[in-house]
């Protein structure tokens, strides 16, 4: 599968099938700090991502303190 990350933007190619939770664990990403998005909608943690999927791991934390 193709995995798109942000801040900074980069792409990874990983083998599927794999559950969303397992993908985030493999990348050492706290699941509470991101959304996993496929085809413009959110993919829940127990969903299985296929080998041909394109997913975005979108960070949700923003930093302005004002």
């Amino acid at each position: 599968m193709q995995v798109r990350l942000r801040n900074p933007r980069r792409e990874l190619e990983l083998p599927g099938p794999m559950r969303v939770h397992a993908l985030l664990a493999q990348l050492e990403i706290d699941r509470e700090t991101v959304l996993v998005i496929r085809s413009d909608t959110i993919v829940p943690g127990d969903a299985v991502l296929g080998d041909d999927d394109v997913v975005e791991i979108r960070p949700v934390i923003s930093g302005g303190a004002s």
Binding site: R6, N7, D30, E32, T33, V34, L35, I37, D40, T41, I42, V43, P44, G45, D46, A47, R58, P59, V60, I61, S62, G63, G64, A65, S66
Partner: protein, 303 residues
């Protein structure tokens, strides 16, 4: 994963509620939480004219969308801060959302209207960029509300923002800030009323709201914010939250219920000292307000 409400397929988990939601019921949860915050803290009246501080990010676009959906009369104000490509992109997001929804967006451009941008202003005033940015935003939103006759300024501060600010204020015992860290600041001394309708929702929920509503927002982090203290406080709280979901909610709402009024005298003492800025007329404790001093330093004394 099944929706806690309808048992259909869920798309979003909210760990502090120990619940999962389908898209329809998650969007309803967000609207209900905003309505509850508005009612509990008496933020808005049905006849209020609200001005939403719009950055082009998830929180400000979500709160604008939810308020309009709840029937409130809400316009937006976007501030161009002169932060290079980031400002160009965030302004475009704000304009596109307003155009798509048929909403009114006011704009103020810091470089064009006040002669300086945030990177220059921060450097000249020897402030960290987030500090120069924050004070500029507060000043310009207050001014726009006064000038255009809005009853209230709405900001997109969410539960994560408020918990992180509270954490920082407690770590350094900034008691005057603790005294005014409230979801509603009433109108007084020349300041408009300010409300934070997203205090019952976390930032992951606001990002999910935007994705599920098809709202395009700026995902990239502001380049000036990298490594700031606020992000560090959020990281620390997220580590605690991961081990004990609901801690941020208990921290913030426990403070409001059991501690915030103990700091009210500190905040009110500062309010009693307010004068009018000699240059712009804004309320201030010094001859020139902090924004006018920043503008003066940024322009090398020409402001």
């Amino acid at each position: 994963m099944k929706c806690t409400v309808c048992r259909g397929p869920a798309v979003m988990d909210v760990r502090r509620h120990n619940a999962n939601f389908c898209a329809e019921h998650f969007l309803k949860l967000c609207r209900d939480q905003v309505a509850k915050a508005i009612k509990e803290h008496r933020m808005l009246e049905p006849t209020d004219r609200a001005l939403v501080a719009v950055s082009g990010g998830k929180d400000s676009l979500a709160v604008w969308d939810i308020l309009v959906g709840l029937g409130y009369d809400a316009d937006g104000l976007y501030l161009g801060l002169g932060i290079g490509d980031y400002s160009d992109a965030s302004g475009e997001m704000a304009r596109r959302f307003a155009a798509d929804q048929g909403l009114k967006l006011l704009e103020v451009d810091l470089p064009a209207d006040h002669g300086f941008d945030i990177p220059t202003g921060a450097k000249a005033a020897k402030r960290v960029p987030c500090s120069a940015c924050g004070l500029s935003k507060r000043h310009l939103f207050d001014e726009a509300a006064r000038t255009h006759g809005y009853d209230v300024v709405v900001t997109g501060h969410n539960l994560d923002d408020e918990a992180a600010v509270l954490f920082g204020n407690v770590l350094h015992w900034q008691t005057e800030y603790l005294g005014r860290q409230l979801p509603v600041l009433p109108e007084r001394h020349g300041f408009p009323r300010k409300v934070k309708p997203l205090v019952r929702l976390g930032e992951r929920e606001m990002a999910a709201y935007c994705v599920l509503r098809g709202i395009d927002y700026i995902v990239e982090e502001c380049p000036m914010a990298a490594g700031n203290k606020h992000l560090g406080y959020k990281e620390a709280l997220n580590l605690i939250e991961a081990a004990s979901p609901g801690t941020k909610h208990d921290f913030y709402f426990g403070f409001l219920a059991r501690a915030s009024d103990r700091f009210t005298p500190e905040a009110e003492a500062e309010q009693d000292l307010l004068l009018r800025c000699a240059r712009c007329g804004a309320p201030t404790t010094t001859e020139l307000c902090a924004f006018c001093r920043l503008a003066e330093r940024a322009s090398g004394g020409r402001a």
